[in-house]
Protein backbone atom coordinates (compact mmCIF):
# COMPACT_ATOMS: atom_id res chain seq x y z
CA UNK A 1 0.00 0.00 0.00
CA UNK A 2 1.15 3.52 -0.74
CA UNK A 3 1.38 6.29 1.84
CA UNK A 4 -1.20 8.45 0.07
CA UNK A 5 -3.75 5.66 0.48
CA UNK A 6 -3.12 5.66 4.26
CA UNK A 7 -3.44 9.44 4.29
CA UNK A 8 -6.76 9.26 2.44
CA UNK A 9 -8.30 6.37 4.36
CA UNK A 10 -7.23 7.53 7.83
CA UNK A 11 -7.70 11.25 7.34
CA UNK A 12 -4.09 12.08 8.20
CA UNK A 13 -2.81 15.63 7.93
CA UNK A 14 0.29 15.98 5.79
CA UNK A 15 2.86 18.32 7.39
CA UNK A 16 5.70 18.03 4.94
CA UNK A 17 7.23 16.18 1.98
CA UNK A 18 3.94 15.87 0.09
CA UNK A 19 5.98 14.89 -2.96
CA UNK A 20 7.03 11.62 -1.28
CA UNK A 21 3.56 10.18 -0.63
CA UNK A 22 4.02 7.61 -3.38
CA UNK A 23 6.25 5.56 -1.06
CA UNK A 24 5.33 1.99 -0.29
CA UNK A 25 4.31 1.02 3.26
CA UNK A 26 5.44 -2.53 4.02
CA UNK A 27 4.79 -2.65 7.75
CA UNK A 28 4.64 -0.55 10.86
CA UNK A 29 6.67 0.24 13.93
CA UNK A 30 5.52 2.00 17.11
CA UNK A 31 8.10 3.49 19.43
CA UNK A 32 9.08 6.60 21.34
CA UNK A 33 12.64 5.57 22.16
CA UNK A 34 14.92 6.43 19.28
CA UNK A 35 17.46 3.75 20.13
CA UNK A 36 14.73 1.11 19.93
CA UNK A 37 13.47 2.36 16.58
CA UNK A 38 17.04 2.54 15.26
CA UNK A 39 17.64 -1.05 16.34
CA UNK A 40 14.38 -2.74 15.45
CA UNK A 41 12.40 -0.95 12.74
CA UNK A 42 12.59 -2.24 9.19
CA UNK A 43 12.88 -0.57 5.81
CA UNK A 44 9.49 0.54 4.51
CA UNK A 45 7.86 0.69 7.95
CA UNK A 46 5.52 3.52 8.78
CA UNK A 47 6.72 4.83 12.15
CA UNK A 48 4.15 5.86 14.75
CA UNK A 49 5.50 8.05 17.56
CA UNK A 50 4.91 10.82 20.06
CA UNK A 51 8.40 12.29 19.65
CA UNK A 52 8.57 15.54 17.72
CA UNK A 53 12.19 16.69 17.88
CA UNK A 54 14.35 16.70 14.79
CA UNK A 55 16.24 13.51 15.61
CA UNK A 56 13.20 11.55 14.38
CA UNK A 57 13.98 12.67 10.84
CA UNK A 58 17.52 11.31 11.05
CA UNK A 59 16.24 7.95 12.31
CA UNK A 60 13.58 7.70 9.58
CA UNK A 61 16.11 8.65 6.95
CA UNK A 62 18.85 6.26 8.14
CA UNK A 63 16.45 3.33 8.40
CA UNK A 64 14.65 4.11 5.10
CA UNK A 65 11.28 4.24 6.84
CA UNK A 66 8.25 5.05 4.66
CA UNK A 67 7.25 8.02 6.83
CA UNK A 68 6.37 9.21 10.31
CA UNK A 69 2.92 9.51 11.89
CA UNK A 70 2.74 11.81 14.92
CA UNK A 71 -0.07 10.87 17.28
CA UNK A 72 -2.44 12.73 19.59
CA UNK A 73 -2.29 15.86 17.47
CA UNK A 74 1.42 16.40 18.15
CA UNK A 75 2.99 18.99 15.87
CA UNK A 76 6.54 18.63 14.57
CA UNK A 77 8.81 21.41 15.81
CA UNK A 78 9.69 23.92 13.03
CA UNK A 79 13.21 22.53 12.66
CA UNK A 80 11.83 18.97 12.46
CA UNK A 81 9.40 19.96 9.71
CA UNK A 82 12.09 21.83 7.79
CA UNK A 83 14.52 18.94 7.99
CA UNK A 84 11.89 16.38 6.99
CA UNK A 85 10.86 18.55 4.04
CA UNK A 86 14.46 18.87 2.90
CA UNK A 87 15.07 15.12 3.17
CA UNK A 88 11.74 14.11 1.65
CA UNK A 89 10.49 12.25 4.74
CA UNK A 90 6.72 12.65 5.00
CA UNK A 91 5.42 13.63 8.44
CA UNK A 92 1.72 12.94 8.96
CA UNK A 93 -0.43 13.87 11.96
CA UNK A 94 -3.45 12.18 13.55
CA UNK A 95 -5.47 13.18 16.61
CA UNK A 96 -5.79 9.51 17.60
CA UNK A 97 -3.56 7.82 20.19
CA UNK A 98 -1.09 5.17 19.03
CA UNK A 99 -3.22 2.11 19.87
CA UNK A 100 -6.19 3.32 17.84
CA UNK A 101 -4.30 4.52 14.75
CA UNK A 102 -2.17 1.36 14.71
CA UNK A 103 -5.30 -0.78 14.91
CA UNK A 104 -6.64 0.91 11.81
CA UNK A 105 -3.36 0.75 9.88
CA UNK A 106 -3.00 -2.93 10.80
CA UNK A 107 -6.44 -3.63 9.39
CA UNK A 108 -5.66 -1.81 6.13
CA UNK A 109 -2.37 -3.65 5.70
CA UNK A 110 -3.90 -7.05 6.45
CA UNK A 111 -7.13 -6.69 4.47
Amino acid sequence: MQLDELVRKLGLRVCCAEGSLGRDVRGGYVGDLLSDVMANSREGDIWITRQVHQNIVAVASLKDLAGIILIQGSEPTPDTAAKAGAEGIPILVTDLPAFEIVGRIYQLIHS
Binding site: D32, L33, S35, R50, Q51, V52, H53, T77
Partner: protein, 156 residues
Protein backbone atom coordinates in the same frame (compact mmCIF):
# COMPACT_ATOMS: atom_id res chain seq x y z
CA UNK B 1 -21.45 18.22 62.06
CA UNK B 2 -18.22 16.39 61.27
CA UNK B 3 -14.85 17.92 62.11
CA UNK B 4 -13.35 19.73 59.13
CA UNK B 5 -10.65 17.66 57.43
CA UNK B 6 -7.04 18.65 57.89
CA UNK B 7 -4.02 16.52 57.04
CA UNK B 8 -0.45 17.53 56.43
CA UNK B 9 2.72 15.54 55.87
CA UNK B 10 6.14 16.07 54.29
CA UNK B 11 8.09 13.40 52.43
CA UNK B 12 11.79 13.37 51.60
CA UNK B 13 12.82 12.46 48.07
CA UNK B 14 16.38 11.37 47.33
CA UNK B 15 17.80 12.78 44.07
CA UNK B 16 19.78 10.87 41.49
CA UNK B 17 18.50 7.33 41.97
CA UNK B 18 15.50 5.82 40.24
CA UNK B 19 15.53 2.94 42.72
CA UNK B 20 12.72 4.37 44.87
CA UNK B 21 11.22 6.90 42.45
CA UNK B 22 7.45 6.73 42.76
CA UNK B 23 7.49 5.40 46.29
CA UNK B 24 6.31 8.69 47.82
CA UNK B 25 3.56 9.08 45.21
CA UNK B 26 2.34 5.57 45.99
CA UNK B 27 2.22 6.44 49.70
CA UNK B 28 0.36 9.69 49.01
CA UNK B 29 -2.17 7.86 46.85
CA UNK B 30 -2.81 5.44 49.72
CA UNK B 31 -3.22 8.27 52.26
CA UNK B 32 -5.74 10.12 50.08
CA UNK B 33 -7.74 6.94 49.52
CA UNK B 34 -7.80 6.29 53.28
CA UNK B 35 -8.97 9.86 53.90
CA UNK B 36 -11.90 9.17 51.58
CA UNK B 37 -10.91 11.68 48.91
CA UNK B 38 -12.82 11.19 45.65
CA UNK B 39 -11.28 8.90 43.01
CA UNK B 40 -10.84 11.66 40.45
CA UNK B 41 -8.92 13.90 42.86
CA UNK B 42 -6.79 10.99 44.11
CA UNK B 43 -5.81 10.22 40.55
CA UNK B 44 -4.94 13.82 39.67
CA UNK B 45 -2.88 14.33 42.84
CA UNK B 46 -1.08 11.00 42.35
CA UNK B 47 -0.06 11.96 38.80
CA UNK B 48 1.12 15.40 39.95
CA UNK B 49 3.16 13.89 42.80
CA UNK B 50 4.68 11.26 40.54
CA UNK B 51 5.83 13.77 37.91
CA UNK B 52 7.19 15.96 40.75
CA UNK B 53 9.05 13.02 42.23
CA UNK B 54 10.53 12.09 38.84
CA UNK B 55 11.68 15.71 38.42
CA UNK B 56 13.46 15.71 41.79
CA UNK B 57 15.07 12.33 41.08
CA UNK B 58 16.10 13.41 37.58
CA UNK B 59 17.54 16.84 38.34
CA UNK B 60 18.09 17.55 42.05
CA UNK B 61 20.29 16.37 44.93
CA UNK B 62 17.29 16.02 47.20
CA UNK B 63 13.87 17.48 47.76
CA UNK B 64 10.66 17.37 49.74
CA UNK B 65 7.05 16.94 48.77
CA UNK B 66 4.51 18.35 51.21
CA UNK B 67 0.92 17.25 51.04
CA UNK B 68 -1.87 19.26 52.66
CA UNK B 69 -5.43 18.01 52.49
CA UNK B 70 -8.51 19.99 53.52
CA UNK B 71 -12.17 19.67 52.60
CA UNK B 72 -11.77 22.31 49.91
CA UNK B 73 -8.49 21.34 48.28
CA UNK B 74 -5.37 19.23 48.11
CA UNK B 75 -2.15 21.25 48.08
CA UNK B 76 1.13 19.76 46.84
CA UNK B 77 4.33 21.71 47.46
CA UNK B 78 7.69 20.55 46.19
CA UNK B 79 11.01 22.06 47.09
CA UNK B 80 14.33 20.80 45.80
CA UNK B 81 18.04 21.45 46.10
CA UNK B 82 18.91 21.38 42.43
CA UNK B 83 20.26 23.36 39.51
CA UNK B 84 17.17 25.58 39.25
CA UNK B 85 15.35 26.46 36.04
CA UNK B 86 16.86 29.19 33.86
CA UNK B 87 13.75 29.95 31.81
CA UNK B 88 10.52 28.80 33.45
CA UNK B 89 8.35 29.73 30.49
CA UNK B 90 10.50 27.63 28.19
CA UNK B 91 10.58 24.74 30.68
CA UNK B 92 6.77 24.72 30.80
CA UNK B 93 6.63 24.26 27.03
CA UNK B 94 5.77 20.72 26.04
CA UNK B 95 8.69 18.98 24.37
CA UNK B 96 11.41 21.13 25.95
CA UNK B 97 13.76 19.09 28.11
CA UNK B 98 17.28 19.08 29.52
CA UNK B 99 17.02 15.46 30.71
CA UNK B 100 19.92 13.03 30.50
CA UNK B 101 19.93 9.93 28.30
CA UNK B 102 19.46 7.78 31.42
CA UNK B 103 16.27 9.63 32.33
CA UNK B 104 14.99 9.30 28.76
CA UNK B 105 15.55 5.54 28.76
CA UNK B 106 13.27 5.39 31.81
CA UNK B 107 10.45 6.80 29.68
CA UNK B 108 10.67 10.30 31.07
CA UNK B 109 12.55 13.44 30.04
CA UNK B 110 10.45 14.10 26.95
CA UNK B 111 9.54 17.56 28.20
CA UNK B 112 6.04 16.63 29.34
CA UNK B 113 6.42 16.58 33.13
CA UNK B 114 5.67 20.20 33.98
CA UNK B 115 2.98 20.29 31.30
CA UNK B 116 1.33 17.26 32.90
CA UNK B 117 1.51 18.86 36.35
CA UNK B 118 -0.13 21.98 34.97
CA UNK B 119 -2.76 19.91 33.17
CA UNK B 120 -3.88 18.08 36.31
CA UNK B 121 -3.61 20.98 38.80
CA UNK B 122 -6.19 23.76 39.05
CA UNK B 123 -3.45 26.15 40.05
CA UNK B 124 0.33 26.00 39.73
CA UNK B 125 3.13 28.40 40.58
CA UNK B 126 6.88 27.91 40.16
CA UNK B 127 9.75 29.90 41.56
CA UNK B 128 13.33 28.96 40.92
CA UNK B 129 16.81 30.21 41.65
CA UNK B 130 19.77 29.04 39.60
CA UNK B 131 22.20 26.95 41.59
CA UNK B 132 19.83 26.84 44.58
CA UNK B 133 16.66 25.01 43.69
CA UNK B 134 13.06 25.08 42.58
CA UNK B 135 9.78 25.47 44.44
CA UNK B 136 6.45 24.41 42.95
CA UNK B 137 3.03 24.79 44.54
CA UNK B 138 0.02 23.08 43.04
CA UNK B 139 -3.61 23.02 44.11
CA UNK B 140 -6.28 20.52 43.18
CA UNK B 141 -9.60 22.00 44.21
CA UNK B 142 -12.57 20.05 45.52
CA UNK B 143 -15.13 22.22 43.75
CA UNK B 144 -18.00 20.02 44.79
CA UNK B 145 -17.31 20.81 48.43
CA UNK B 146 -16.74 24.50 47.74
CA UNK B 147 -20.00 24.81 45.84
CA UNK B 148 -21.97 22.61 48.23
CA UNK B 149 -20.50 23.21 51.73
CA UNK B 150 -23.31 21.27 53.40
CA UNK B 151 -22.31 17.98 51.83
CA UNK B 152 -20.49 15.49 54.04
CA UNK B 153 -16.79 16.15 54.40
CA UNK B 154 -15.65 14.70 51.09
CA UNK B 155 -18.08 13.25 48.58
CA UNK B 156 -17.41 10.47 46.15
Amino acid sequence: MAEPLYFEKSFDVEGGSFQNAGNVSGQIKGILKDLGVSTDIVRRVAIICYESEINIVSYAKRGTITLTVTDEAVKIETKDEGPGIADIELAMKEGYSTASAAVREMGFGAGMGLANMKKYADHLIITSELGVGTYVRMMVMNFQKILHPDLPSITL
